[in-house]
Symmetry: C2
Amino acid sequence: MKLDYLMPARLLLGENCVIEQRSLLSPLGKKALIVMGKNSARKNGAYADAAKALEANGQDHVLYDQVMENPTDTCAFEAGNLAKTTGCDFVLSIGGGSPMDAAKAAAVLAVNKISKEELFNSSFAAALPLAAIPTTAGTGSETTHYSVLMDTTEADGKTPRAGGPAKRSIASPLFFSRFAFLDAKYLLWLGRNITVNTTLDALSHAIEGMLTLRTNYLSNILARESIAMIMDCMDDLLSFPSEPSAFSAEKREKLLLASSLAGMVIAQSGTALPHSMGYYFTANWDTAHGRANGLLIKSFLSLCREKEKKDPSIAPRIPGLSAALGMDMERFFDLLERLLGIREKANKTELSAWSAQPMKNAANTYIKPNQEEIGQIFRESVG
Amino acid sequence: MKLDYLMPARLLLGENCVIEQRSLLSPLGKKALIVMGKNSARKNGAYADAAKALEANGQDHVLYDQVMENPTDTCAFEAGNLAKTTGCDFVLSIGGGSPMDAAKAAAVLAVNKISKEELFNSSFAAALPLAAIPTTAGTGSETTHYSVLMDTTEADGKTPRAGGPAKRSIASPLFFSRFAFLDAKYLLWLGRNITVNTTLDALSHAIEGMLTLRTNYLSNILARESIAMIMDCMDDLLSFPSEPSAFSAEKREKLLLASSLAGMVIAQSGTALPHSMGYYFTANWDTAHGRANGLLIKSFLSLCREKEKKDPSIAPRIPGLSAALGMDMERFFDLLERLLGIREKANKTELSAWSAQPMKNAANTYIKPNQEEIGQIFRESVG
């Protein structure tokens, strides 16, 4: 057996943990850069709590609240420059994957004079310490060493990229947070769509994490637990109330922890084929990242099951996944379909263009899908 | 729900991982202090591998190989002074809990001019980076922030302690290793007694970890897995071969990982009553630490079950433990008895003296045992 496990963040879960555990932030320095989006961190109270916690610690903060969905390289450089020019000692992100991922890059850019390509190639050796307050339950960025940014510019950092923006993933141990504060009260206002879509993201992390070549014993333990926790919330998700605050607070917390565990999974295993394929839906249709993966899961898992049956050289993994789900795959597919609702449809041009694309994560996927099979998954999922 | 999880060590498991992953040690500095005992690290090949890995990295090392079982404060100061006077940059421990625990204290003493009491009270703010190569599967010290040392001297650090040596536990986040290299090949030569006793230590960590007030959702996940892995090795342990190398290598590895997971458990949950009580057997009879806990488990768990049934204010935990064990408690007790063999017996003076002692971990034990119940466990276990 081989195993390589690292997740150095201290995970703090509980109501009011930002305020109650604020002293943990004291050793990080005198001034924080807070990285967040324009709205939700104010609406859900997380920014107010963070500001209060820092103030009580006698720490200043500088605010960067311009992170957009699918954050760009430009945004990361802006935030990094702000940290540099204002002399910030650490970076605290508040939000979903977008602010957390932008904050990771900003923490690096604050202390390195590097080009955009050096950032994307992980050519850096230092970063400000990071802390994160996730306010959605999906990305798991608080427990991973990944940052996903849009590469939008040419090497000059200004001219728009000739081929159009491209989503790129950066990995570095420096991207691990020191602290992740998980307080489900910031999620209570989230409506059906974002709740379901982020859950699909966490679920796809945990499921894909069981199906890569880098899957290991410990990542599987965490993946199974994450999946079981999410499936335990499935009925509540399917009967999501018209008033978001009526969604079970206990289940919100369960989904939040499940998402962090799924982050711990992919920090070891990496992701599998659906994560590469889903980018096309997001790039072309603006489909939410979690939903994009969710659209692909059924066909992907069906292919896995089929190849396992046909090829005795592939050690079967679907039975273990089915056990973690607590049901047979057909029943799971049915639940998934009910969560997804009406599927997006691609036109013929899109289908044939995407089906010809090499997929980065194919090599890390245990069934080693070929190009024809990738085309088949696209057709079955959105054809 | 509340949760506080931290285990920042990078866990590397696999045959030859010390050699193959040696480059990870490079950033730790130019010179290592290797801390180990007199014999086993040489016999099992771990010292040779570590020396080879460091040499290949261009790193020097200084050797401290005087750690005894139940290491003393004096030994930790010796090792710390050696690191200081020879200018070591990091500390690499090889062995069971004794070298790992001594190394943790040495890493602190190398960079702090502090007294023995300051060490025992965690009054220090820096330590050299640590790495560990566990060569038994029991202590889990490679994934904990605990160091257990014998307090043997008066404040001068020389005169023998008036009340005799006392086992004391020190906790500090600085005691977490940066890297833990888990290679089961170093364990292949271990005979029945040490294999069983260290397994009992890991098992008691995982079981007790499910039964403390600090138990949380994530510690329980890890505890259940650790218990399941150990129980999966039970038949092999019960039919331990006369030639140690005939014991399944795959099961050795499973026990090694289970022990690290159990360390991750107690790093969150702390230990429960048996760990406090077992110290009396070790101090008076030189009973191996794991066996000492093992002797107490049956009576302790029986009391837990009884109190759960009687007192509706105690949320039941034995059913969850039984599920993790994969069997009812009576069957588990029977297996445990077969593992333990003939029990040690205390005389009346010992029993009455120990039964009157306050037990530190009682307060962290979910059933809140009283003094009468502590006496009952002693009598049932070794009476």
